[in-house]
């Protein structure tokens, strides 16, 4: 690695510098970090590795291959956009956390071994929590603690998995792991634990609540950072370790379906986007599960596009939050009047996520769909089709509609600040560029792309799907059957640990306290009784302690002698 830094190091050094600077200097510096990182990455010789001896392990800090480099590039791009978006924020904590977070994501995808992966995995958790804390709202502290504990739980499960995996295989290299049948062997336990750890990070349903809990609670700019990295690192890890694992097809399908129902009825638009994020990751996981070159390419490219268009959507909502203080659908509406640029960029994001031809979602998602049907997963294909229609509903229509159009809430906020607009514009540009000219993205994919997105057939069917999905929404609207936006909280799997668990543990604790009190009372009484008895017997007034008449002493002596003599003569 001549003259190059380990890619994550660029960000960490940047973070250190950001910690020491402030004001415009810090802003400029922060913008330079991903650029410098990109230059560093660009000049990185192909197939670079960087090894480090630690404890008894040889760690591969850097492994540059096509898969890792694609994600690294993605994260550099995402970091640049997110930093630009957050450029007006004067908070040192968020600045440093953002750079560390981005660097950790880069480090994680470039990690050649599992220990390095684990280290960055945890760094992601620790650095990202600041975006939630920095919100400073009434809920943010508790949310942050939940987020952190779940994230670290993922980390420690990964650690355990790595240990088992290393024991079974004798290697800590991060390659294809696969999923053996669960037979209690170290290999199986290891693979399952690693998979579960990744599932948590990827927000697979029932492990997902940290995402829908935390992202809506983060700062306006923080969610943009959050949305870019954590889950995508998980997707990368799945693609690296579990490509072609059949279970993932099922899980991915469920994941694509599960959130769309919640997204329809959710009032907080950032939470809608969070559910939408799960849905998109579901597509990727299906692709990874199918595991063919086409499917993996589809999953990876969709991850790339998702980061950008989901980032774009989160940015537009961030701008709305920044200007209005809320992202609740029930409180918004009609903002297009005063925030036209934001509205436009949001629409680009909506079109992209809906996979409208010439927008980025189209060129990547269709690969997964095609792979699903080609590899003989017709039901999965149907389900994904259903989910695609759902995406149109909640991300394509609901987000822009309720925020910017719909009924006029009467709010006339200012247009988003310039840096936000620039960031959104850049993201929108990438969405359109990748959608219209996907070949550069395709060239960067791990496998050679033998896929033509822009056939008449593809375009036609997609347009049919989109148009009639929209039509159905319009129809429902007009007939008054479309569900209203109601200020509400929809409970999800988090109910288990936010309601049930405290109740159960509270009961257990109460029982324990009761038991302890009981034991203490009884024990205390027992001890004091023994003490009293001892004092009575042995205190100054006690049997042995008091002064005895001489005769009594003599009696003792005689008794002892008598006993001996008796014994002697018997």
């Amino acid at each position: 690695m001549t003259g190059n830094l380990a890619p994550f190091l660029v960000f960490y050094i940047g973070a250190a510098l950001a910690a020491l600077t402030s004001g415009a200097l810090r802003s400029a510096l922060m913008l330079c970090v991903p650029l410098a990182g990109a230059y560093n990455l660009w000049t990185l010789p192909p197939s670079t590795t960087l090894d480090l001896q630690l404890l008894d392990y040889t760690l591969q800090l850097v492994r540059a291959d096509k898969l890792s480099l694609l994600f690294a590039w993605l994260f550099h791009l995402a970091a640049f956009i997110a930093i630009l978006f957050a450029l007006h924020v004067k908070d040192r904590t968020q600045a440093v956390a953002g750079l560390v977070y981005a660097g950790s994501a880069v480090g994680a995808v470039m990690a050649g071994d599992l220990i390095t992966l684990f280290v960055f995995w945890e760094m992601l958790a620790v650095s990202s929590v600041f975006f939630i804390l920095a919100r400073g709202s009434a809920h943010s502290y508790a949310t942050a603690m939940r987020y952190l504990i779940i994230q670290v739980a993922s980390g420690v499960i990964l650690l355990a998995g790595i240990l088992f995996h290393a024991k079974a295989t004798g290697s800590i290299a991060f390659g294809s792991i696969g999923l053996p049948t669960f037979d209690g062997s170290a290999a199986a336990i290891g693979a399952w634990l690693i998979l579960i750890a990744i599932f948590i990070k990827a927000a697979v349903p029932l492990f997902h609540n940290w995402l829908t809990d935390a992202y809506p609670e983060a700062t306006a700019t923080g969610t943009v950072f959050l949305s870019a990295f954590t889950t995508k690192v998980a997707v990368y890890a799945l693609a690296r370790g579990f490509a072609g694992v059949d279970l993932l097809v099922t899980i991915g399908t469920i994941m694509a379906l599960y959130p769309i129902f919640f997204a329809v009825i959710e009032n907080d638009l950032r939470r809608v986007l969070s559910y939408s994020m799960m849905n998109q990751i579901g597509f990727m996981i299906v692709g990874i599960g199918i595991g063919t070159n086409l499917a993996i390419n589809g999953a990876v490219s969709h991850a790339f596009n998702d980061v950008i268009f989901k980032g774009l959507l989160f940015m537009s909502m961030g701008a709305v939050l920044y200007r209005t203080g809320t992202t609740k659908a029930s409180e918004l509406g009609g903002l297009f009047r005063s925030m036209p640029w934001t509205t436009t960029f949001c629409l680009v994001g909506a079109l992209s996520i809906s996979a409208v031809p010439l927008f980025s979602g189209f060129v990547s998602k269709s690969m997964i769909m095609v792979a699903a049907i080609e590899e003989g997963h017709p039901l999965v294909w149907l389900a994904l089709l259903f989910a695609s229609a759902g995406v149109v509903e909640h991300a394509g229509i609901k987000i822009p509609y309720f925020a910017f159009f719909a009924h006029d809430s009467g709010q006339r906020p200012k247009e988003a600040p310039l840096n936000m607009l620039l960031a959104m514009g850049l993201a929108a540009l990438v969405c359109i560029f990748n959608g219209a000219y996907p070949w550069i993205l395709y060239a960067a994919l791990p496998f050679p792309v033998d896929y033509a997105p822009f056939t008449f057939e593809h375009i036609l069917t997609q347009v049919q799907l989109l148009a009639f999905a929209v039509l159905a929404v319009v129809a429902l609207h007009k007939s008054g059957l479309y569900p209203d936006e109601i200020p509400s909280r929809n409970i999800d799997a988090e109910w288990t640990y936010r309601k049930a668990l405290p109740a159960v543990s509270g009961a257990v604790l109460a029982l324990a306290t009761l038991t302890r009190r009981g034991v203490e009372t009884i024990g205390g009484k027992l001890v004091s009784r023994i003490e009293r008895e001892l004092r009575r017997q042995n205190g100054p007034e006690g049997y042995f302690g008091r002064d005895w008449p001489t005769g009594f002493m003599a009696l003792w002596t005689t008794a002892m002698l008598g006993a001996y003599l008796l014994f002697a003569y018997l």
Binding site: F261, I265, A406, A467, F468, L471, G480, P483, D484, E485
Partner: protein
């Protein structure tokens, strides 16, 4: 399609009215138009209908590969999408009965 011709603002009334309820009454008239004026709203709708119509016709013009038996059905995609949304929305409404709680449900 006939229904689509109707005034969009009036059809949206349940949602809009409910939400606009607390807002400034003087501006209520404005709020019926999603894009500011009713004509703009209508243009968008007409464009949508046009695209939908063209895409329906396209199904007979362009040959499609068939991966799944259902896909062979004429107008499979429009139909599937339309039904999907209906199913989705109604399921979600049903789900609401199950999961919807007050906003401060967890705050105690």
């Amino acid at each position: 399609m006939a229904k689509g011709q109707a005034d969009p603002s009036s059809s949206l009334s349940p949602a809009a009215a409910a939400a606009a309820h607390g807002a400034d009454g003087a501006k209520a008239a404005d709020k019926h138009a999603i894009l500011g004026t009713k004509s703009r709203d209508n243009i968008v709708l007409y464009v949508l209908y046009a695209i939908a119509a063209v895409s329906l016709i396209g199904d007979f013009v362009i040959h499609r590969h068939v991966g799944h038996p259902w896909e062979a059905l004429p107008e499979f995609y429009p139909l599937y999408a339309f039904v999907s949304i209906i199913v989705l929305i109604f399921s979600a409404k049903a789900l609401r009965k199950l999961v919807m709680r007050p906003e401060d449900y967890y705050d105690d």
